[in-house]
């Protein structure tokens, strides 16, 4: 709570006097991150999902969002009340500030943009704190707080702080843009939102690429820690599925890793370039001995769940994420080359796509191998098995492309998209939008032409999945889209 107070009160003043006050905010961030408490951790991650939903539901204003939370309130009402009053106060402040800016706009017409950006940042920060507060308030309602076993349940304030430190951004940015436009209308709001979420999606993918897939859940299979020698953390589903854990306090961009965020921050000013700002936040755990942390899958009945008889803990939070997605989520990423293999973790899809198609070694029994020597080992072992002749299949697949290559420019574009592995960023980009808009009944409303123009603007935005292209892409890019469908049909013919 004190953090938010500071944000709202102190920093507003600082900003008004022309000093960027985000340094403060930022310096606190690492400390919070290092907080060893289990619940803190899970809480930290948990809220943004709610946040997302709420932002979506209440497009017309942040204040509205408070109401639904109020209704379902059943946890520490007094704390919640106080937080609401804070929020109210805060929103009032912000409204005043915006009024002030609107009023001044006429006067400062000829002035350089510095002031405008400062104002923007200011508003962003305020909104951020509002949302953080909101999230933490909402988070306090979550049922698992009750069930979580913990030696020391943290106070609400702690929640708020942590949430604030970690999740300020996406809605914040949205709000910022909205206010900057000064219209604040819903029409302009939607595309923006899409834009941001798409951004998040692609960002996530980049991060995923960096991720070390080797941190498999199976990696620590052999580990045999005596029960009780470690503490078990069980992140919530929503936390696991949240795309990011680190957000830029200025622009709201999300990151999977703190280091990436620090790198990103350099772009916001020289003060982030100091060795201190760039340094890896030190673990203070050295002073006080901490238990080894192990993770539990939130799915009951799963072997990785702490209630399971033969519970096998997961080593890191990343292991949890990958395990959860692989085991308990839909395999929503389909390889666009083979159209058969499906994955729930983007990185898995990427790994697959590296090998998909180009070196498929197929046995007559239907088993496929990534390496020729493996196939031959298999054939040597099993009586009567022979290698399936790849040339027929590949020729059939390659053939159409070769023929088309000389056709038209549009076709060429299409074929390029088709040939290159549609980097998962696209799909996940779309995917993310879908996730974010999950509660909207008719997704097509969101795939407005404008949205797709925006998305198409990304350099690495590749071919959309077929379903989408049929519904909303058809009229946009007739040439390439037709092509896509055609080639898909060709493919199926060839395979048949």
């Amino acid at each position: 709570m004190d953090l938010n107070n500071r944000l709202s009160g102190n920093e507003l003043q600082k900003n008004l006097s022309g000093q960027p006050g985000f340094g403060n905010f930022n310096t606190q961030h690492p400390q919070k991150w290092e907080d060893p408490s289990i619940i803190d951790y899970s809480m930290r991650i948990e809220p943004p999902f709610r946040g997302f939903n709420q932002v979506k539901v209440g497009q017309d204003g942040l204040v509205n969002e408070l109401r639904p939370t109020n209704k379902i309130q059943e946890w520490d009402p007094s704390a919640m009340l106080s937080s609401f009053s804070f929020l109210e106060q805060k929103i009032h402040q912000l409204r005043d500030l915006v009024h002030l800016i609107v009023g001044r706009r006429g006067q400062v017409l000829g002035r350089p943009d510095e002031l405008v950006t400062q104002q923007q940042q200011l508003i962003t920060a305020d909104l951020t704190s509002i949302i953080v507060q909101l999230i933490s308030t909402a988070g306090s309602l979550l049922p698992y707080v009750k069930s979580t076993h913990s030696a020391a349940p943290p106070s609400m304030g702690q929640f708020g702080q942590l949430g604030g430190a970690v999740f300020p951004s996406i809605p914040g940015l949205n709000g910022g843009i909205q206010l900057q436009n000064t219209s604040g209308s819903k029409v302009s709001n939607q595309p923006n939102q899409n834009d941001v979420s798409a951004n998040c999606g692609s960002e996530q993918n980049h991060n995923n690429e960096e991720h070390d897939l080797k941190e498999e859940e199976d990696a620590e299979e052999g580990e045999n820690l005596p029960p009780g020698s470690y503490e078990i953390l069980q992140p919530e589903k929503e936390e696991i599925l949240a795309p990011h854990t680190h957000f830029c306090t200025i622009c709201g961009k999300g990151f999977k890793r703190d280091a990436n965020l620090r790198m990103h921050m350099r772009g916001h000013g020289d003060e982030y370039k100091t060795p201190a700002a760039l340094a890896k936040p030190h673990k203070e755990s050295s002073s006080e001995p901490t238990l080894i942390k192990r993770y539990s899958c939130p799915c009951t009945g799963c072997k990785r769940n702490k209630d399971h008889k033969k519970f096998q803990p997961l080593k890191t939070i990343l292991c949890v994420k990958n395990h959860y997605k692989r085991t308990h989520c839909d395999k929503s990423y389909t390889c666009s080359r083979c159209n058969t293999k499906r994955f729930s973790v983007v990185a898995d899809l990427k790994t697959h796509e590296k090998h998909c198609g180009k070196d498929k070694w197929l046995c007559s029994c239907g088993t496929t191998f990534s390496r020729k020597d493996k196939l031959f080992g298999h054939i040597a072992l099993f009586q009567g098995h022979t290698p399936a002749i790849a040339s027929e299949e590949t020729k059939a697949q390659v053939g159409p492309f070769e023929r088309r290559e000389g056709n038209q420019v549009t076709n060429k574009v299409g074929s390029m998209n088709f040939n290159f592995s549609p980097n998962a960023s696209s799909e996940s980009g779309v995917q993310n939008i879908m996730n974010v808009k999950g509660n909207i009944d008719d997704p097509t409303t969101y795939f407005s032409p404008l949205n797709f123009d925006n998305l198409g603007g990304f350099n690495d935005f590749p071919r959309p999945p077929f379903d989408d292209s049929e519904s909303s892409f058809g009229f946009l890019l007739p040439g390439s889209c037709n092509y896509n469908q055609k080639s898909a049909a060709d493919d199926s013919n060839n395979l048949a």
Binding site: D373, F376, A380, G384, T386, P387, I389, S391
Partner: protein
């Protein structure tokens, strides 16, 4: 044939006639037999088990006439493609219901199939063919350069396959080989020469699946020592040929030391990385080795290697071409390798008279001796060989310049069974020498290229005394004239292969003599500047069996000759017309009319226009397999014809 009257012969029973028929050696004799009477023809039909089809038209009806047919050779038949077989098989399949089972009756018994150079054949035709011939045991698809994995897969349906030759099937990879080895587990002989796509993996699988393998040729493959490691596990392997395997070294050969217990022959020639130590390990492990080819890998015949050779009591053939050999080595070989039948010393440094004399003293069973480019040997050495090696059949003395008629005298006197002698570029050979040589009445192959001292007189002696000769090389024998050819045509009626290139004195009259050689199938007459169209016309009309004709630089031959060629030389399969003054029309006629033509070299035809080429190629595009053209034509000819040629498996060489 026999001097009896035909009535007596006809009274013979069928089985007696069959036994007589089986004694016939050559194809022409069998042809004469068939022409005697119906009864003889019937015996021929019932007895014959091998058929070499020359024309695709005959393929429809011919095989059905021979109920005992076991072997079908389609290697020289044009238009062997999927369409041919689909037509053939479908026709007979539908015809079978109406009582004509001809196709299946002969196809079912077929055991050997030669499809060498059948480049137009695809996997579908092959599959149908293999399906129709369930008892197939031996298939030769060598030089079908376009053959790939799918063709190999089609072949693999012949589960009884024991012999497979797939030299230069360039596109067959490990996958194709795997198909074959898995399904044809009974393979005994396999040649993978020049199947460049095959790697260790394929060979490894082969050695795991085909345990009955007796003969394996992996020449020129990019396989490594790993392949030899698995080859060493083959318990029945008798012969291993691995010419020019650049990645195999002594370590690989060491695997063989303790493997392949039945190994009798190994060819490691031109394996760059193999040295004598690798060979020694092979020899140590296999005391019963019969054949050893170590050409072009030994820089020097070292003493340890010789020591090992001593142990090879059964060695019959050794080739150490291109090595340096010291004189004492010969005595070792002659003292220990008593059963040697063949020695190859081609281009060996250090081969002396003394050495050869020592060799001759010990190896009296020698039948084949190759002394090509051993320039320092003289008559003394040859005399020693002639005196001790009375069974000598083949002697190669190319570029042995010190040889004179004295050697030939010795050979003619002692080596009565000599069949083949190569005297190319031996300037000491003269008419007198040939006269001595003609004492070897069994001579079949005589090579006298660049023996400029030979004249008509020498040919007289050959012509009058060597009736069995079937190959004669007179390349650049500028002393030869028409009269010599006259003598040849009188005496050597069996001549099949004749090289007259650059014998500049030969005129149309000489060609007329040649035209009497009915067996002649291969004639090279490059640069005969005095021969005109009349001479060529005589050849075309007379030599009915002519299959391969080289007319390069025959600048005086005019269209009348080519017209005659187009009309009469119906068996012509390969032709070289480069630098000939042939016209558009004549070229089209030659290419279109000669229905067996499959290989043509057509460069530097100054009188032929682009349209002429286009038409000529169009006329033969459905059957030509290989054509050499002037490089700029690549851009002048229509892409349609080039694609058409390519699609039918024709290989175009641009010059």
């Amino acid at each position: 044939m026999s001097s009896r009257s035909s009535k007596d012969l006809l009274s013979f029973t069928e089985d007696l006639l069959t036994r007589v028929y089986e004694k016939l050696g050559s194809e022409s004799d069998r042809k004469s037999w068939r022409l005697v009477c119906r009864e003889f023809l019937r015996v021929d039909s019932l007895t014959r088990n091998h058929l070499r089809v020359l024309r695709v038209e005959f393929l429809q009806s011919l095989p059905g006439k021979y109920p005992r047919l076991q072997s079908l050779d389609l290697s020289v038949c044009p238009c062997i493609d999927d369409g041919t077989f689909s037509l053939l098989l479908n026709r007979h399949a539908s015809g079978s219901e109406s009582g004509s089972l001809s196709w299946f009756s002969w196809a079912r018994g077929l055991k050997r199939l030669t499809l060498s150079r059948a480049a137009g054949l695809g996997f579908m035709g092959l599959e149908a063919l293999v399906h129709a011939c369930p008892s197939l045991e031996s298939v030769d698809v060598s030089y079908c350069c376009g053959f790939g994995d799918r063709e190999a897969a089609a072949l693999s349906n012949a589960a009884r396959l024991r012999v497979l030759k797939m030299d230069k099937c360039l596109n067959v990879s490990d996958v194709g080989l795997a198909k074959i080895v898995v399904r044809c587990g009974k393979l005994e002989r396999l040649s993978l020469k020049w199947c460049m796509e095959i790697s260790d993996l394929g060979v490894d699988l082969l050695c795991k699946k085909c345990l009955d393998l007796k003969f394996l040729d992996i020449s020129y493959l990019k396989v490594t020592n790993e392949s030899l490691r698995t080859i060493a596990t083959l318990q029945k392997l008798e012969v291993l040929a691995m010419v020019g395997c650049p990645l195999v070294d002594d370590v690989g050969l060491q695997f063989l030391e303790n493997g392949c217990p039945l190994l009798q022959g190994i060819d490691v020639s031109r394996c760059e990385c193999v040295s004598s130590s690798g060979l020694i390990s092979v020899i140590k492990g296999h005391g019963s080795l019969r054949e050893l080819n170590a050409s072009y890998i030994l820089s020097e015949l070292c003493t340890t290697f010789l020591h090992c050779i001593k142990g090879l009591k059964h060695l019959e053939m050794i080739r150490i071409d291109g090595s340096r050999i010291a004189e004492p080595s010969f005595s070792v070989i002659s003292n220990y390798c008593k059963s040697l039948v063949e020695i190859g010393l081609c281009k060996c440094v250090g081969v002396t008279n003394m050495g050869i004399m020592q060799l001759a003293s010990g190896c009296i069973t020698l039948r084949v001796l190759n002394l090509t480019c051993c320039g320092s040997i003289t008559d003394a050495a040859i005399s020693a060989i002639a005196e001790s090696c009375r069974n000598l059949v083949c002697l190669k003395l190319e570029s042995c310049n010190m040889i004179t008629e004295k050697s030939l005298y010795q050979l003619g006197s002692f080596c009565s069974v000599l069949e083949e002698i190569d005297l190319t570029d031996c300037c000491g050979v003269n008419d007198k020498g040939l006269e001595y040589m003609s004492n070897c009445s069994g001579l079949k192959c005589l090579k006298l290229g660049i023996c400029t001292n030979v004249s008509d007189k020498g040919l007289f002696s050959i012509g009058s005394n060597c009736p069995k000769i079937h190959e004669l090389d007179l390349y650049c024998c500028s002393g030869i004239g028409d009269e010599g050819l006259g003598a040849l045509s009188m005496g050597c009626k069996n001549l099949m292969k004749l090289n007259l290139s650059y014998c500049n004195e030969i005129t149309d009259r000489g060609m007329e003599y040649i035209s009497c050689l009915e067996e002649l199938s291969d004639l090279e007459m490059r640069g005969l500047e005095k021969v005109t169209g009349t001479g060529l016309a005589a050849i075309a009309a007379g030599c009915k069996r002519l299959a391969d004709l080289d007319l390069k630089h025959c600048v005086k031959v005019n269209d009348s000759g080519f017209w005659a060629l187009a009309c009469y030389a119906k068996n012509l399969r390969q032709i070289n017309l480069s630098y000939c003054p042939i016209s558009d029309m004549a070229l089209c006629l030659v290419m279109g009319n000669l229905t067996r033509l499959q290989d043509a070299k057509l460069v530097h035809l100054s009188n032929v226009s682009v349209d002429g080429f286009e038409l000529a190629l169009r006329a033969c595009s459905f059957r030509i397999k290989k054509v050499k053209l002037f490089a700029p034509l690549r851009f002048l000819l229509s892409s349609e014809i080039l694609e058409n040629l390519h699609a039918r498996g024709c290989k175009i060489r641009w010059d």
